[in-house]
Subunit: 718 residues, 2 copies
């Protein structure tokens, strides 16, 4: 047992393996001091390590996105794409805030953000490794290992949250070598302040998504509100703007090629320490299979969309979600195509096996990891099909969730799975309400049909028994007709599409739900044992990984002679880099900054390349301070070598003095493989330049009061 | 009458309007001496003006492509895509020379090129302006003007060709201000020597067509043969290699960024002196309509292709032809989109009208040109539909051609149209044979159906009367059924798809053809009056242009204060430039040279990105002399600012000392608008680097004897 916490927690935390690679824990920043000084950072690294200090205290999570305070009055800046839901929520048939943008003239005009919008301010990180792992030894079976870690984490969370006003979680770092308890102030009254028109905020749309050169004005503003006592409170007219201890200064100087920049935010998930066999599994099956399903479902939904605007609106979120991940996976697959990542891992593993002093234990760990990969691959098709039942059908997904919630609620709270505890009830109900947007029975049926057709093709040994039983029960001769009969039953006999009904269901026991005789719920109930078996397998695997991975990482660290940063896990991280372009392919060089002139050259007038007339007009008379002297134009977006991933969206990008110079909003297509291996030659963060944001706020959207609130100059007349 | 030949013929011929713009007549080169010296040319410009001198005497036309002699034994190098037809012609079911390439081990192994392959060596240019225009005055009606010019040209051609062994034409320059009689030795025994595999010669295929960065090895070798007496002769085993007076030396030094290069070749057609209204007509109707038709026909043919390999092979040429022009027009439309070209022309025309001393005559010319454009636009839909009847159906095209040939043959030879005279008979018969490759009745019917559907949508006043009559005659109620009935008749009642039958038809009179009762021929016969009316309109317009354009150009020259080069017209031209990249769009820079490493990075293993195993193997052990020291790799393709267009394919690109450093094979997408206006910032010629050609010939295809024949070193073992 000792092996796996050994020297990992801190000795790993020093110099990065390569220049800009690394999503560092705040506590690791002081260890980067020499590199940061050499790179030109003018701040004291020790200061950057302080969670509640300046500037890190200004960086917040929106849950899935990152953001930062930019005024003493709780003003928050994040990405436009992080507040789309809030814009939709506040739109009416007469007034489309997504398309037209929004600007609250006064605080009284700031509408509530969509339900489920939170602002999380990290205030505490506490090492709880000893508590979490106490008493766990090699003899503990894998499933039990996982269960105990989960249980202790829940206990710690409950104790942490007991005083109130704080949301806690226990996060595993280095894949189980380090556990940190994270305490966050949870602000639940969040309001919409300002967003540019979609034609600015999502300029380039799906076509430019993941792409450079880019001309997207991907920003939006929220405001955090709290009770008059300054503590988080439910939304109320009595609430007042939250007064953060820290907020960021927005730079009026901008960035130049070669400048040091750094980013603080909440990256979601990376896989940098995966073995060769695990990378191969992702390349051979997981990602291509995702792409195949996503492409098929998008095509089906596009056909459904032709039925009308209502249908298209319901399907919009699903299509964008599939498309976004599909394009990312396509990019990763391209990056993995030449086999270099797998080769590097295989060589590394061979070196680890061969290294003196690592002993047979390392070989044993590698063998066990390999065995787990093999076990996973034996059931990968079944698992994929099970996972995608809900992904293919918002209605079946709701049924599965409701049934699961009823099952979990039958247990004592402390034994329920994360997401189904009493503390999760509000979020669960918000999710029910949110799902309503994507429910469109005709489209639902079309995509579920496809998912079930795929399930019918599963090989023996990986069949979904509940589905086979259901189909057999239709007593119809051929496969296609049987499927239609089942779909007729499912969609003809369910009220799952009705939000009020679902809200009632959410309060019912399993027995009551079963007694409803709702066809979709019944299908979810019949699928439940297989879904539970899938989770049990995952739990056992997770336990094994918690046992094995820290040893693997320890051996890796010794074999490589380098120091490691932990994979991303949606906790606050620090990354630094430099503003620079890249060479995407032979004979092509990308410069690191785009311009307003470039945006205009791209403007076809057709969506998503149709900038608003107000921008075109303002482009004709740009106040001089917004013109970058080197570009001779207004800068729009820029690249940096910072190391980010999904979840970092909305993160502030700061300069050497800690001033906000941009907002990270995307990675580049050629670099997305960096979720698996960071390639400093190719991986780039795409950020919108704060100068462009200021220009649009000043000359296009006339958000002068917000500029003043941020202490920024205004150059155009009111 | 005087106005239009005034000072134009020579005073125009001096400095170019911008640095690298200009497709110069050889006789103009000495006038460029200062610029050429400044650019670094080490050759005497006067020497470059000599048609039969060194090096211009080595540059030849293949009719549609350009090429050059590279040995004293008649060895010719051109583009791979210029000899595809010859490779197909020599392929057998067992041996696909397009796919696999070909190398003749000895001269005895050099097979005949496809029928219709000629090599033209320009030996004489004679100013015949006075003869052509003698007696033409303003009073001569436009149609008559055209007819007289045509007639005199034919008389001059006949006189020129009388001694034998030479092919002549009279070409109009400056749109009628200058007429040159061009005499060319016509070599008609042409043989195939060597071509790389398609995976090298057409690497990147349709996807990379018109695109940079590029990695295409677009070269192929032919050899010219003549009779034992050294004069052109019909193909015969007794023939011997032609011994040209001049051949090019292939450089072993290569090019670098910034080097001067120049190109001699036969550019086909440009429109640099079109008026604003003419450009608008092309932008609004001609090009988008081409794109629309081409896209529709390609889609239809792709569907037909699914019927099998034979069908796909028959349609291949049509599809590539449509796709190539479509992509070019799309690029031009993109280049015209911002309206800058039309604005520039409109301003120029306004300036011409306003300029002192130009007098009302200029305004009159502009008014007349505008009236002609308007007349053309009134019938543009009809003309387009008529032109595309044959383009949409190789079978109907053959019927139209055969009927026309019969009509023309009824006239005295001197009165027949170009292409239908006795001197054209061999070519006509070769074209009949060549058409057989593209005849596939199912596909023909599918695309003709589409064309006729479009014709049914023509507005009143632009209807095809013969088609309307035909359809009415079917006595079927609805449009679609009528069309099917007509198609049933056409394809059920024709022998036009049979080559032997067509060959017989080519010898028959109109009466005999009519008596056949062949449905397709009958349709062509019924269409003939409307096609003739279309030609008559074109003749009248041509006459008007011959009358007006020289005056327009004269006024333009005086208004601009610059000197003009003539638009491309498939005659020998000279262009020079520099090896340099470009900025295709905001934040993107293209370097001017690609590398073997870049080719390998593009190699997916899927067509058209699947280099042969022999290339992959050779890439692993490249002889040092092929490695460019600056690139650290084998150069593959490079860009220059030379000014070319279609017809220049295969042209030698030469260095400051006149050595061959590459072969021009394409223009870049962003620059194709240069057919209308040359944009020195964006227009680039794409050439394959002679170093790559030498490397492949040496290390991949082992064409060692050819390298030695060219006096080039060989670095790999036999």
């Amino acid at each position: 047992m000792k092996l796996h916490v050994l020297s990992l927690a801190l000795p790993l935390l020093a110099a990065p393996l390569t220049a800009e690679e690394g999503m560092w824990l705040p506590r690791q920043i002081p260890l980067l001091a020499p590199q940061l000084a050499a790179a030109g950072l003018e701040l004291e690294p020790r200061r950057l390590a302080e969670l509640t200090g300046d500037p890190l205290g200004a960086v917040v999570s929106l849950g899935g996105c990152s953001a930062s305070f930019v005024s003493s009055e709780g003003l928050i800046v994040t990405n436009h794409h992080c507040i789309t839901r809030t814009l939709q929520y506040n739109s009416t048939p007469e007034r489309d805030l997504v398309a037209d943008g929004f600007l609250a003239a006064t605080r009284a005009d700031e509408p509530q953000a969509a339900p489920g919008s939170y602002v999380y301010v990290t205030t505490e990180l506490r090492d709880v490794t000893a508590e979490v792992l106490a008493g766990l030894s090699e003899e503990v079976p894998d499933a039990e290992w996982d269960a105990r870690v989960e249980r202790r984490s829940r206990e710690l969370v409950d104790a942490c949250e007991a005083p109130g006003g704080v949301r806690c979680r226990v996060a595993s770092f280095y894949e189980g070598a380090l556990f940190l308890e994270i305490g966050q102030i949870e602000i639940r009254d969040v309001r919409l302040v300002y967003a540019p028109a979609e034609a600015i905020g999502n300029f380039g749309g799906e076509i430019d998504n993941w792409m450079w050169p880019r001309h997207t004005g991907d920003w939006g503003f929220l405001r955090a509100y709290v009770g008059p006592d300054g503590r988080p409170a439910d939304p109320s007219p009595a609430n007042v703007p939250y007064r953060p201890r820290r907020w960021l200064e927005v730079s009026t100087e901008g960035v130049e090629e070669g400048d040091l920049v750094w980013i603080a935010g909440y990256p979601g998930r990376t896989y940098r320490y995966r073995t060769a066999a695990e990378v191969r599994a992702a390349r051979e099956f997981e990602m291509p299979e995702y792409v195949r399903w996503a492409r098929a479902l998008i095509t089906l939904l596009e056909r459904e969309d032709e039925r009308g605007r209502e249908v298209a609106l319901a399907n919009y979120g699903r299509q964008r979600g599939y498309a976004n991940a599909m394009k990312k996976y396509e990019g990763i697959l391209l990056g993995l195509r030449d086999g270099a990542v797998e080769r590097q891992r295989a060589e590394r593993e061979a070196a680890m096996r061969a290294a003196d002093g690592l002993g047979p234990a390392t070989a044993d760990v590698l063998d066990q990891l390999a065995a787990w990969t093999a076990r996973g691959r034996e059931r990968e098709r079944l698992d994929h099909a099970l996972d995608w039942l809900g992904r293919s059908s918002p209605m079946l997904d709701q049924a599965i969730e409701l049934w699961r919630f009823a099952e979990e609620r039958a247990k004592p709270d402390l034994e329920r799975a994360e997401g189904y505890r009493e503390r999760d009830r509000t979020r669960f109900e918000q999710a029910l309400a949110r799902a309503q947007r994507s429910i469109e029975p005709g489209s639902d049926r079309a995509t579920l049909r496809w998912a079930l057709e795929q399930a019918l093709d599963l090989p023996a040994g990986q069949r979904i028994a509940a589905l086979d039983r259901k189909l057999a029960a239709t007593a119809v001769p051929d496969d296609a007709a049987r499927l239609e009969a089942l779909l007729d039953t499912l969609y003809g006999g369910t009220r799952i599409g009705d939000l009020a009904e679902r809200q009632r269901m959410a309060a019912e026991t399993g027995e009551r739900l079963a007694a409803r005789g709702d066809a979709m719920l019944d299908f979810a109930r019949e699928l439940a044992p297989e879904l539970a078996a899938r989770r049990a397998f995952e739990g056992e695997r997770r336990g094994a990984m918690l046992r094995l991975r820290p040893r693997y990482l320890g051996a890796l660290e010794r074999a490589e002679g380098g120091r490691l940063y932990p994979d991303a896990n949606s906790t606050l991280r620090f990354t630094y880099g430099v503003v620079t372009g890249y060479a995407p392919r032979d004979a092509v060089r990308y410069l690191p900054r785009t311009t307003l002139g470039g945006l205009l050259a791209k403007a076809t007038g057709q969506k998503p390349f149709a900038p608003p007339a107000t921008l075109l007009a303002a482009a004709g008379r740009v106040p001089r301070p917004y013109i970058d002297s080197r570009l001779g134009d207004v800068p729009v977006d820029f690249l940096s070598t910072c190391d980010i991933t999904g979840g970092n969206s909305g993160s502030p990008t700061l300069d050497a003095r800690g001033r906000l110079v941009g907002l990270a909003f995307d990675g580049n297509y050629e670099g997305v493989v960096s979720d698996y291996r960071f390639d400093s030659e190719l991986a780039r963060t795409i950020q919108v330049d704060a100068t462009y944001m200021r220009f649009v706020m000043d000359a296009v959207d006339r958000a002068h009061h917000l500029l003043r609130e941020m202490g920024l100059p205004v150059y155009t007349a009111e």
